[in-house]
Subunit: 309 residues, 2 copies
């Protein structure tokens, strides 16, 4: 009985010993093959791999590369309608039209602009009497991508039409400052309405060769531009002279000239491509310096690793 007990006790001892040794063996096996010693230098210092952009495409090739990937041929692909975009744009415009804060902000900016330092001193302060953003919505008729003439750059050409009544009315007085200052004043009321505006918007990405900055250039092509203004004028106090043709023509010509100088091709409005992070531009130089530092660190680490092996 005690023999049986002692043999079974020995068996249990052996059983446990065998398991412990096997567990230890497996543990060291796993530790050796799968695990490694925690690298303490990594945990105190973060490594960040720095990625270099390999510019495989020159700006010229890039345009062609994009076209081939998108499978768009500017010479053969016809213009596409974009009515869905009209609805989105109309919704955005309706939003702004219904926002009294936005309207009053426009009026405030206009007011500051026309009463600013540029106002000649023979005019009394100018009051905005009428302001309307209209009721209708611009209609994009068709869009296509074409090459810019004599260039390999691409631009989107979007035909649009806009029949509406965007009106700005002002009132002022022309002061007669002779023989004495503010001798008399001629009341002038003007109201200018944009009635028809159609043409082709061109949107072009322009990459500058040296800096990483690129921008979007938006302009309106002259070929089919149709810009019609309606101008009402009223002079005088008790007797009123209405719609002087000479004055009307003068104002309309001045407006057209400003518009052409502002946005009609080859003039254009330039917008920076948004960089998502406001401090990205500022970080650019900083990053370059940091990259050099980190590259040096990486090289140092590699050397150390080799020594350890």
């Amino acid at each position: 009985m005690s023999d049986l007990w002692s043999t079974s006790k020995e068996f249990i001892k052996g059983f446990i010993a065998g398991q412990i040794i096997l567990i230890c063996f497996m543990f060291f096996l796993i530790k050796f093959f799968l695990f490694q010693n925690p690298s303490k230098n990594v945990s105190t210092k973060r490594r960040r791999k720095i990625f270099e952009v390999t510019k495989t495409h020159s700006p010229q090739n890039q345009a062609l590369n994009i076209l081939s990937k998108i499978r768009y041929d500017p010479n053969s692909t016809g213009a596409e309608t974009c009515e869905w975009l009209n609805v989105l744009i109309a919704q955005a415009i309706a939003k702004y039209r219904n926002d009294s804060g936005f309207l009053n902000r426009i009026i405030r900016v206009l007011d500051e602009e026309i009463n600013g330092s540029k106002k000649p001193n023979f005019l009394s302060p100018i009051t905005i009497t009428e302001f309307s953003l209209g009721e209708d919505f611009p209609m994009l008729k068709s869009s296509c991508i074409r090459f810019v003439e004599n260039s390999i750059n691409l631009r989107a050409e979007i035909r649009f039409e806009f029949h509406d009544q965007i009106t700005l009315g002002i009132e002022t007085q022309v002061l007669v400052n002779w023989p004495k200052i503010m001798m008399a004043a001629l009341p002038v009321a003007l109201s200018v309405t944009l009635t028809k505006f159609s043409g082709t918007i061109s949107i072009e990405f322009i990459n500058s060769k040296d800096s990483p900055a690129s921008f979007i250039s938006i302009s309106i092509l002259e070929e089919d531009l149709n810009l019609e203004f309606d101008c009402k004028s009223m002079l005088g106090n008790r007797t009123k002279v209405k719609d002087l043709p000479k004055l009307t023509q003068l104002i309309i010509n001045r407006l057209r000239k400003s518009f052409f100088e502002l946005i009609v091709f080859p003039n254009s409005k330039k917008f920076n491509v948004p960089s998502f992070w406001p401090d990205a531009e500022e970080n650019f130089l900083e990053l370059n310096l940091e990259q050099e530092d980190e590259l040096e660190n990486l090289i140092d680490e590699n050397l150390e690793n080799k020594k350890l092996l």
Copy 2:
């Protein structure tokens, strides 16, 4: 002779007197009828007319009003292609891909995110070893405007396809902190690639009823969403265990879940409609107060004018 001289002298005197009187008469006539006395109060204080927005359309009617003006019928108008937009989007993406500052900024943000406070303490710092924004471009296939189900709101539905290799690779160590801290470490390398991403983007303008703020809600519809990941994993130090199916599945499921929670309808990303002037929102209340002030001033002025008349 002296007679002739005196008569002609008298004639000249009369001639000049006649002209002077006529000039004076005309001057006073013009001054009386056309001119007015310069209003000095206007020149010291600027008046600005305050425009109230007459909200003629409720948000519901507004959607219908826009559709009728644009002549778009969501029930019958078919989907439109938008290949021209593909080219513009590809140009913008190519720009970001070639901008090493932008890429490194993404990596920095990712690095801060994954090594931030959320990282559990059994992981050693995570190193980004691979990052690629791919080579291909998303393709918009078709766009249309449809009513949102059970609502009068409109949304643009844009079908897109994106076959590419957007890759993020990381390396870390799972630390064994028992029986003592940093006993051993299991190296883990993971690389996740987004290989296929197609579905329908929905863009919806949402007007809140009470405040003037409205926002753009962008989400992805679940119906035809196809989101495929490829996940590579590597465990171990000397012996490496590759692509454990269980781990791969776990990671892919986790990613899909995060994606669904982030942007798949009815979840959505909301963006404020840009207000052009950064201080417009702040000015809104201020303007309202100012409007009241100015309205009072206008009423005061009108009363004064009536008294003068």
